[in-house]
Symmetry: C2
Subunit: 408 residues, 2 copies
Amino acid sequence: MGEKLYTVVEDGSIVTPQGFRAGGLHCGLKKTERNDLGLVLCDVPAVSAAVYTTNAFQAAPLKVTRESLVNGSLRAVIVNSGNANACTGKQGEEDAYRMRALTAARFDLAEEDVAVASTGVIGELLKMDRVESGIAALPEQIHPAAEGAEAFSQAILTTDLVKKEACVAVQVGGKTVTIAGAAKGSGMIHPNMATMLGFMTTDATISPDALQQLLRSTTDLTFNMITVDGDTSTNDMLVAMASGLADNDTLTPEHPDWEAFAAGFGYVCQVLAKAIARDGEGANRLIEVRVAGAECDSDAQAIAKTIIGSSLVKSAMFGADANWGRIIAAVGRAGRPVNPETVDIAIGPIAVLEQSRPLPFDEEAALAYLQGDTIHIDVHLHTGSGSAVAWGCDLTYDYVRINAAYRT
Amino acid sequence: MGEKLYTVVEDGSIVTPQGFRAGGLHCGLKKTERNDLGLVLCDVPAVSAAVYTTNAFQAAPLKVTRESLVNGSLRAVIVNSGNANACTGKQGEEDAYRMRALTAARFDLAEEDVAVASTGVIGELLKMDRVESGIAALPEQIHPAAEGAEAFSQAILTTDLVKKEACVAVQVGGKTVTIAGAAKGSGMIHPNMATMLGFMTTDATISPDALQQLLRSTTDLTFNMITVDGDTSTNDMLVAMASGLADNDTLTPEHPDWEAFAAGFGYVCQVLAKAIARDGEGANRLIEVRVAGAECDSDAQAIAKTIIGSSLVKSAMFGADANWGRIIAAVGRAGRPVNPETVDIAIGPIAVLEQSRPLPFDEEAALAYLQGDTIHIDVHLHTGSGSAVAWGCDLTYDYVRINAAYRT
């Protein structure tokens, strides 16, 4: 993703693209006084697209959102934290539909203009009286200014330690187009919560097919290349909304500035994905695994994700241990073609394996490098030109502590 | 596996089947004074078979063992712990061949009568002077009595807390046939060690093809259904040797007592596999997951292994938390067909989900059950008749501590 095709907007947020407002409040779904209900609102019908969890048990809000997106257009997304509304049967579905209807009525929209997302405990019914009073109070909390995006970002968090936002500007046919995103990760303080939610806004004019295609392909290289613990939530969802208010010629893959737009879109998704990995439950550090020289990109992706998902690699990184035996063992069990004689491995600047043979290295230097807050693992297979990058985090005592906590 | 087809031999070991002797000693590959070199010896050529790790980076001893097994017969297996002889290049291969040659010469065998297995640190060369002096001293340590099996069992352990042995007797055509096994698991105290080794002995007369086929099919239902941390070693190996000294008619799948022999063989493998899971690194308890009602056995196996491999399920079990949301999320991401509306889940005697709907349950009773040393998780999908059982362990602070330890 070439840096020069877009400009990072340092203090940008999901309301920076023209036409978007956002906000959030506390309605009582979380036990603490933190925000637990949020809304992104577009002043005009936004060309919209979404991707969803591959888990067979999809939560009720995903069903409702799919229905709203049949016509490829949205005006708003209503989101709650504190309850995933998953495995809640018919009542859960009715609650998700009602959440959509209440939002539509309060903001004078059609029901199919509203998407619904939830994150929190699985298997408990939503307290709909609190959701209802929250939606009733939402309009005065919705702002086109940064404070609205801030309140929204707080409302979607569960146990995330930091909010995750990014924004870029791109030139499209001489017009400035802005792309922004906000996301929450799969941090868990209360067990049963493990959801990635992402919300992308842009003021670009873009065809619905092009947006859906871009969202899918970008997700595969960003959000789908992170892992915290290998568990896939029932509620994962990424929604993109394009207001068209930048007034550019409609973007399609044939547009001369498509590459720049896709690069900017990819940058925002990558920043959010890396932020989620870094803020994984209990994590001390971000781990970035780059695999090169595979037979194809798909092989490289599978190998990179196997390394980043290995509990042994993750606990070695927690212990700042340059334990390359675990890395090569993960490469070997990924189920993709590798030549056992031609593998190079480097941990940051330190080459530890060359042509599958151990290299002597300075353990003190390795220890110092591994105590940093970002660790790069480079693997070169020397069998082709496929490559991939994946992101994850270390496995710590805190991960076990957080997830062993008895539900209270 | 029907209980009545075989009799458990309570104090049996790998030397209980006729014709086998074993032993072990400390030659200096481990830093402590514990045994680190062991041998199983058969007085006659034993019909033999083996299965190996699927990891692409197979350690040198596996290559040597494959060569020895080309003719389907063995007299001995030499095993060291403390060093895996993996990722050690040409020198490592030469060392594995030399280990075989030294053993053959010392016990007056042909080289192809000897299999070699190693477990321990990856990427370091074997201290061959110590191996050589150890092999020279081995003959006086080899016994047909239980003390020989005990010394062997100690020699193959790395960080296992307990030795793992089992033995049964089966009637085959009026003759008593004995089947025994010893194994080590993937406990890790020194990082870089993670190997499952298993050694089966029997005095049955059995055709080589039948033994290989039985070993493969039994492994799929026992050793291949356990997971400690999802990482597959470079050194996993399971070897079976049949002396034929029970003097029964040759066993093949057509033999009228084949079912009894296979049941006894399966029982021994299952006991060893469960013992490895229970003694997983840092583990407090054994978890047994039973999946029923899947479309086929293969689907049930994949789903059972996804549940038992989930870090979230494993940490909930450590915390004695009846967190069924994580179990159903694991079912849903296994990539096999499930009907989201028809899933039942029980944790021990406590039904928590019926037809995908949460059941009220007594949290205190669940907590008491989950604090036991064996936990059963039953999942019924109600879509077919496929079933499977998998075994694993909880994810604990000690797992992280053990695997974060800096290599020293």
